[in-house]
């Protein structure tokens, strides 16, 4: 039987009736039409589906809707304020940290979560924090440069 779950997504309250085990990723994409968060592997190992839950970078493909009941979720769609991009988004453009672009929302959300706790993260901290976000275009050098720029390095 479906249950009802409440969550806040990008500052908006939502109530969703669905199966408790349904991945947050599917709820975001299919129920809330927030398709910026991507499916990459379904096993929480590539980082494409990264969102922020109560301030923490979270793999939405292996996080059930039940786990985020009553919690605050941020997705790529909620990052910019109006037309003004978040500094991490701007840094990604400045450093050409995209090729096919598919992994980019997950990369950015992970970087945002990192920089909230470590606003001036060191190169080492950046590499350590970003090592679970894969990019098949292997654009890692520019990805690293983008996060470094956002960290003021």
């Amino acid at each position: 039987m479906p249950d009802r779950f409440s969550l806040e997504v990008n500052g908006q309250a939502h109530s969703v009736e669905t199966d408790a085990q349904r991945p947050l990723l599917d709820v975001l994409r299919e129920e809330l039409s927030l398709t910026g968060t991507k499916y990459g592997c379904g096993e929480g190992a590539c980082g494409a589906c990264t969102v922020i839950v109560d301030g923490e970078a979270t793999r939405s493909c292996i996080t059930s809707i039940a786990e985020v009941d009553g919690r605050r979720v941020e997705t790529i769609e909620g990052l910019a304020s109006g037309v003004e991009l978040h500094r991490v988004q701007q840094a990604f453009i400045d450093q050409s940290a995209m090729q096919c672009g598919y992994c980019v929302p997950g990369q950015i959300m992970n970087a945002v979560a990192l920089l909230r706790t470590e606003p001036q993260a060191t190169g080492e901290q950046i590499v350590e924090a970003m090592d679970g976000n894969l990019c098949r275009c292997c654009n890692y050098r520019n990805l690293r440069a983008a996060v470094e720029q956002a960290a003021g390095r």
Partner: protein
């Protein structure tokens, strides 16, 4: 200001960082859209005896259709070259996961429930999985191919050249496959249209082929099928042909039910059933002199093609065309055979066989150097193609390698990377360390640009100029992250003297661009860029003719003269008239021109000149030009664990005049790192039944951010001799991947330091396991080297092999 040459961001950059750039699964759900799933073969080889549960599946609530091969309206076979692959299994089962039944349902739950009701009754046979098994059972695809340098067709002459060589080596080299792992999996959406037509939106590098295949499967005319591709989340070759299967499945469901249908593969299914870079085996022998100059060489390739031909014969051809890499080898024999096995059909993957050919000769070069006890760089330099030097510029297939700067690349890179000093440091380090071994290698790439299938070297472009002076461009080229659309935007902006924000690239669609080639062979910008320029030229000619009359000023003595009309800086003007009021803003001019009934749209066509290659004789000029470069890599290997640390990389490439230096740099770095993945950590594992075990990122390791080298320099070299191709640029998509081989060669160099002169073969990829096993073997006191494996399809040079063994230090 010209736009070409600027490092402007990817045209979708803002969409990428805000999550609004839509990939196929992001497109809004259609009204009454169906979810599509399929049932795949549970065995790698055998016969399908019966499909049980079809009626029960059809009766499942929410299920709208359950389809088998009987529901196809056209012939049940496809394939870009040999057409040997069924859309849906009729009888013979050829690989695990091969589609048998397709289900369309209201919800994924209903579709999955129906799938669970279907049982495939099979008579299982013993599958062929390896190249060795295929050779033993003579299971092949296509003919046994030959490519001989002039004179070496004759067995005796070839053998004589070989016998004259003071030194020889022989061996067998193996390279494994590679999973594309495009982040967006195979995906397609079909919408039924009026009068039985269908619109397919597909994540494909090949909209025209998708159109053809869907039309054939559904028994439709090509005019009844439109294929669109908005963008791909990565392609790498994996969506050149293999995107067709998903497109056909959704189209069958859509036309059967009259409802839109979508299929997006899960990662595990995508990895399990789609083709990969080919696994290769190469038997080789090389004859050379004391200076390391190669006098004669033979390479006999076998590739693992999987169950069906797909592009395998063309991939093999490119392998054979790249067995020389950057070296002029006077007597050269290359043979090749694709093996048919019971794995998913292998397919295009960035480099398209080139990497396997180049890996084979680079491995050979290391062995030559080891036997002579000299630096492999000396051997490489001794054999490089020399521009304009007779006897040092012709390939084994007859093409002259011209207008290149290979020598300069070697010189500049050896200098900037301080190769000699580091070689000395590494020798000292290796002499003093019992637990670690360092290695270094400088290796080149020379990659032929053009499809080796001549007719594919064509493109068309549609350019529409609007009355406000903005421009829409449509080509058959597809955007997969390589930046094609960004480059096209810059090229077209410059043609009209506009800023890039006034040019927009439109969704690729067969409706606007017909009979197009796949976006492949690194030639997307070359072909589509040239076609777009030709379209712009037609419009500009009309603009000049009309503007000449419009801007003519008899009082000033300026008679109508199209030669004096300039279209630049956002203005249209007569360059004789210096009065600024006589200049028309481009948009204003376009509005006037339309009111005077001037056509401001055109279609341009381009066919690459001068490419011709005879597949039967193995001779000709398959390539328009070559993209070249080189890399120096340094690694440290832990001798006790086999762990490899990638210390440093220095890359130098000739990619002509860059249309977008930012994009080209990204292609070079990304391609290189993807190559590093292939040669180090990416390992495909199949079990004995032919089932892929590495089906996700937890079991298949692609490079991550920690795999970047500690020090990383990327640079470009100018080449004023390169005077062809659109805006004098060069293709950049695939060539840097092969520079990744420098890392494998550096790893081999480190192992060679431990080997102390003992010959050995290191397989590719050099995983930690492979390195450790090789090091372990080398540390065991070795038996005298036995007879080398024979060169398949050619007489074994037993004498040469023993001669080499005798000379071993």
């Amino acid at each position: 200001m010209p736009e070409v040459g600027n490092a402007i961001p990817h045209e979708s950059a803002a969409g990428h960082v805000t999550g609004t750039a839509a990939y196929l699964d992001d497109l809004p759900r259609r009204e009454r859209e169906l979810c599509v799933v399929f049932v795949g073969s549970p065995v790698a080889a055998g016969r399908l005896k019966q499909i049980k549960g079809l009626d029960a599946a059809k009766a499942t609530p929410g299920v709208r259709c359950v389809l088998t091969h009987k529901d196809l309206r056209g012939p049940n076979n496809f394939g870009p070259i040999l057409s040997d692959e069924p859309f849906l299994v009729e009888d013979e089962l050829s690989y695990i996961g091969q589609p048998v039944v397709v289900i369309g349902a209201d919800t994924s739950e209903a579709a999955v429930e129906a799938r669970g009701l279907i049982e495939l009754v099979c008579r299982e046979a013993k599958p062929i999985l390896t190249i060795d098994e295929a050779i033993a059972r003579e299971s092949f695809i296509g003919p046994h191919r030959h490519m001989f340098s002039p004179g070496s067709e004759d067995d005796q002459l070839f053998q004589a050249a070989f016998d004259k060589a003071p030194h020889t080596i022989a061996g067998r080299f193996r390279s494994n496959g590679q999973e594309q792992f495009y982040f967006e999996t195979q995906a397609a959406l079909a919408e039924p249209c009026e009068e039985g037509a269908v619109r397919v939106i597909s994540s494909t590098q090949n909209p025209t082929e998708t159109q053809v295949v869907v039309a054939e499967a559904l028994g439709l005319g090509m005019h009844q099928v439109v294929c669109e591709c908005p963008r791909m989340g990565g392609g790498f070759g994996g969506k050149e042909t293999q995107s067709a299967l998903t497109a056909v499945m959704v189209s069958m469901v859509a036309t059967t039910t009259g409802r839109p249908a979508r299929l997006v593969l899960s990662r595990a299914v995508d990895m399990a059933i789609t083709g990969k870079r080919h696994q290769y085996q190469c038997d080789y022998r090389i004859g050379f002199d004391a200076a390391g100059r190669i006098l004669a060489a033979e390479f006999a390739f076998h590739s693992n093609g999987g169950a069906f031909a797909d592009l395998s014969t063309a991939v093999l051809e490119r392998t054979m065309l790249h067995a020389d890499n950057a070296y002029s080898i006077p007597v050269m024999r290359v043979t090749g055979q694709v093996c048919r096995t019971n794995l998913p059909p292998n397919t295009a993957f960035r480099g398209f066989g080139g990497p396997q050919g180049i890996a084979a000769i680079e491995n050979g070069i290391e062995q030559v150097a080891a036997q002579l006890g000299i630096d492999p760089l000396t051997v490489r330099k001794a054999n490089l193609y020399q521009d304009g030097v007779a006897g040092r510029q012709q390939t084994h297939y007859g093409q002259i390698v011209r207008d290149h700067v290979l020598d300069e690349i070697f010189e500049q890179l050896a200098e900037s990377s301080q190769y000699e000093r580091r070689r000395g440091d590494i020798e000292k380090f290796n002499a003093s360390s019992a637990t670690q071994a360092k290695g270094i290698a400088l290796s080149p790439v020379k990659f032929g640009i053009s499809f080796t299938t001549k007719f594919l070297n064509q493109a068309n472009a549609l350019v529409n100029v609007y009355t406000d002076g903005t421009v829409q461009v449509s080509t058959g080229g597809t955007e997969m992250g390589q930046g094609l659309n960004t480059k096209l935007k810059q090229i077209v902006a410059d043609e009209f003297g506009l800023s890039v924000d006034r040019v927009r690239l439109m969704t690729t669609s067969t409706e606007k661009n017909n009979n197009t080639s796949p976006t492949a062979a690194s030639a997307g910008a070359d072909l589509n860029g040239a076609a777009a320029v030709n379209a712009c030229k037609k419009i500009k000619r009309r603009i000049r003719e009309y503007a000449a009359t419009l801007l003519a000023n008899v009082e000033k003595g300026f008679v109508a003269s199209p030669e004096h009309i300039r279209i630049e800086g956002g203005m249209v003007f007569d360059d004789r008239d210096l009065d600024p009021r006589a200049r028309l803003e481009f948009g204003e001019f376009c509005g006037i021109a339309r009111r005077d009934r001037i056509d401001l749209g055109a279609r341009g066509f381009f066919a690459t000149p001068g490419v011709d290659y005879n597949r039967e004789t193995g001779r000709g000029n398959p390539f328009f030009y070559y993209t070249t470069g080189a890399a120096v890599a340094e690694v440290t290997i832990d001798r006790l664990t086999g762990e490899l640390v990638f210390d440093r990389a220095d890359l130098l490439m000739d990619v002509g005049k860059m249309i977008n230096p930012g994009i080209d740099r990204g292609q070079v770095i990304g391609g290189f790192m993807q190559g590093v993945g292939w040669v180090t950590n990416e390992e495909l594992l199949f079990d004995d039944s032919g089932r892929l075990l590495s089906t996700g990122p937890t079991t298949y390791k692609i490079p991550n951010i920690t795999d970047l080298p500690g020090t990383f320099h990327v640079d470009f070299i100018a080449n004023t001799k390169h005077v062809k191709n659109v805006r004098l640029s060069k293709a950049v998509g695939e060539p840097p991947l092969m520079l990744g081989l420098a890392v494998w060669l550096a790893a081999r160099d480190a192992v060679a330091a431990v080997a102390g002169g003992k010959p050995f073969e290191l397989a590719l990829p050099a995983t930690g396991e492979e390195l450790l096993m090789t090091l372990t073997k080398l540390s065991v006191p070795s038996e005298p080297r036995g007879t080398k494996p024979s060169v398949n399809g050619a007489p074994t040079n037993g004498a040469g092999a023993s001669k080499s063994a005798a000379r071993r230090r």
